[in-house]
């Protein structure tokens, strides 16, 4: 039996019995690697070197930024401002939640972190306004996934690591319009469902003074994505620096301007950030072991090269990638998909000279869909836990969001300019 086949069988068997994804990747790689090499010498070296990448340093900062912006009330102020603008429309809270998801995606970079922030802040408001808990969880899970597409995004950092030579800053800018497109599709779906089900008829009349007041209260929060994304766009910050700036900005606003938290409140934020980051990084480290075994065995390279030979058009590469990524997204998490599957697809992408930025955005959207697609969809678990409902109850309500997101994926393929126009305007 080929080592690669054994590796994949072991991985799926372990994932099926609920071995943590990171350990399943690592344990299958260690076993097969030992069969190939005869010792465990490679384990420590790969685990140590896999995390020694400057690009990865941005991840803890962006996760911390997400927690800071949530805890300091910046996100809730954004919600109140948008609510003051369109609060009279039926289904407005769902629309506002979609808008806040896009804005939050511009502050943090992690899908589960964004889902947790949205769930804890907007979840109670939505259920109080008559939205069913499963629909709220479904909307928040889909909205949280935008964190992978709207810059800054952990997904683009991982893409930059597996595709050498790609500019992470450029990827961030490329994600803006697709992120807005996905946000719009999610908002439209939420609106249609809310109107059909009669959710959320707020009767207050529009008040300019309330609107202006809410704007002033949220102005520092509204400036944050502009500062972070604008800084990257104009080359003022590198992604890692922008991540650090986001944290400091959030802390300054939270501690000195809004004064909603004190220094004592920072410790739990640091703790939860360390844990969230480590969960991702253990996957990164173990996925590196897995990829190393795949590469040394070489079977997968032969298979992909064969596939690439059989493919005759660019659309077939996208179809294959979309199929593989969406199926993988049903069972494994985003970070593992990036580190294990994306490198396998790259030979075919390069063979057809597909624009790497365009393909990177396509991958991010496909992986983002996987984050709220059952049975694994990590965002669904986070939303279910926060809103205290059974995971299974969310599934029917999340299906329309999966459908429109797939439509978004097709649009991103059909119209490359959605991904490529903004990066083409970046100053050198």
């Amino acid at each position: 039996m080929s080592h690669t086949l054994l590796l994949l069988i072991l991985l799926f068997a372990m994932v099926a019995i609920n071995v943590p994804i990171a350990i399943a990747l690592g344990a299958s790689a260690v076993l097969v690697g030992f069969m190939m090499q005869g010792d465990f010498g490679f384990v420590g070296t790969i685990l140590f070197s896999s995390l020694q990448k400057i690009e990865l340093l941005a991840i803890p900062f962006f996760i911390l930024a997400g927690h800071v912006f949530d805890r300091t009330g910046i996100m809730f102020r954004m919600f109140r401002f948008m609510d003051s603008l369109i609060g009279r429309v039926r289904g407005s809270t769902g629309l506002v939640a979609s808008g806040v998801s896009v804005m939050l995606g511009g502050l943090s970079g992690s899908g589960p972190a964004d889902t947790a922030a949205l769930g804890s802040t907007l979840g109670p408001v939505m259920t109080k306004r008559g939205y069913s808990a499963p629909f709220t969880a479904a909307l928040i899970s889909a909205g949280g996934s935008l964190g992978l597409v709207v810059p800054p995004s952990v997904a683009f950092i991982l893409y930059g690591i597996v595709v050498p030579g790609i500019s992470i800053g450029k990827m961030f800018i490329a994600g803006i319009l697709p992120g807005l497109l996905m946000g719009l599709l999610i908002a439209m779906t939420s609106y249609v469902i809310s109107v059909r089900r009669g959710y959320d008829a707020v009767n207050d009349a529009f008040s300019l003074s309330v609107c202006i007041k809410a704007f002033w209260a949220s102005v520092w929060g509204l400036l944050a994505p502009l500062t972070i994304v604008g800084g990257i766009y104009f080359g003022v910050f590198t992604p890692t620096e922008a991540a650090g700036v986001a944290v400091v900005y959030g802390l300054l606003v939270g501690l000195l301007l809004h004064r909603e938290i004190g220094f004592r409140d920072l410790l739990p934020l640091l703790r939860v950030t360390a844990v969230d980051t480590s969960v991702v990084m253990l996957i990164v480290a173990c996925a590196s072991l897995f990829s190393w075994v795949l590469t040394v065995d070489g079977t997968i390279v032969v298979i992909v090269a064969g596939l690439a030979r059989d493919l005759t058009a660019e659309w077939q590469v996208f179809l294959l990638a979309g199929f593989v990524l969406l199926i993988a997204g049903l069972f494994i998490d985003g970070a593992s998909i990036y580190l294990v599957l994306v490198p396998m697809l790259m030979p075919a992408v390069r063979a057809f000279q597909i624009d790497l930025t365009w393909f990177g955005v396509f991958v991010a959207v496909a992986v983002a869909i996987g984050q709220f697609t059952p049975p694994v969809g990590v965002n669904l678990f986070v939303a279910a836990r926060i809103l205290d409902i059974k995971f299974e109850r969310i599934i029917p309500d999340v299906l329309p969001f999966i459908g429109v997101s797939m439509l978004g994926l097709v649009l991103i393929y059909l119209f490359p300019a959605v991904s490529l126009w903004l990066p083409s305007t970046m100053p050198n």
Binding site: L57, P60, S278, V279, A285, F331
Partner: protein, 158 residues
């Protein structure tokens, strides 16, 4: 001092290290951003400090994540199995996880010892690498310990 108190002190110490290292990372990164505007370039050694310190935080944090059962897994299939089979799957899961983590600890310790013996140091700040590599076996052993002796739900919630 009872084992319970000892364990609580150890957990507090672990949290302190995690929080302190994350603060250090934030400060070092902020210093680097400022340096780029004041001196016109980043301070290379600061990146090296961040990279090395981050290894410590990731491995220690992975052990903390095990304590709070935050590592991602797929419970969908196991949740639908008869209880006796689910129990057997749970035992197998524990065995696989502990065996893997012991191999990581062994291999990480071997790497740290070889770095110590060879006097391996980092490129620009000349820090001994074994100090940071040692967090791989420490984190892996702590994770394995927590799989064998999981914390109580009340402690996890904290």
């Amino acid at each position: 001092m009872t084992p319970g108190i000892l364990a609580r002190v150890a957990v507090k110490g672990e949290y302190f290290v995690l929080e302190a290292t994350l603060v250090l990372l934030v400060l070092v990164n902020a210093t680097n951003v400022c340096a780029r505007y004041v001196f016109g370039r980043s301070i290379g050694p600061l990146f090296e400090i961040m990279l090395l310190v981050s290894v410590a935080i990731y491995w220690l944090g992975a052990a903390t994540a095990q304590r709070t059962e935050s590592h991602l897994g797929m419970s969908y299939i196991v949740g639908r199995l008869p209880s006796s089979i689910a129990r057997a799957a749970g035992l197998l899961r524990g065995f696989i996880s502990v065996a893997f983590l012991l191999i990581v600890a062994y291999s990480g310790a071997a790497l740290a010892m070889s770095q110590f013996r060879n006097g391996a140091i980092s490129g620009s700040i000349n820090m001994p690498l074994w100090v940071f590599t040692a967090f791989i076996p420490i984190g892996a052993l702590l994770m394995a310990w927590r799989i064998v002796f999981p914390s109580r739900p009340r402690e996890r919630a904290k």
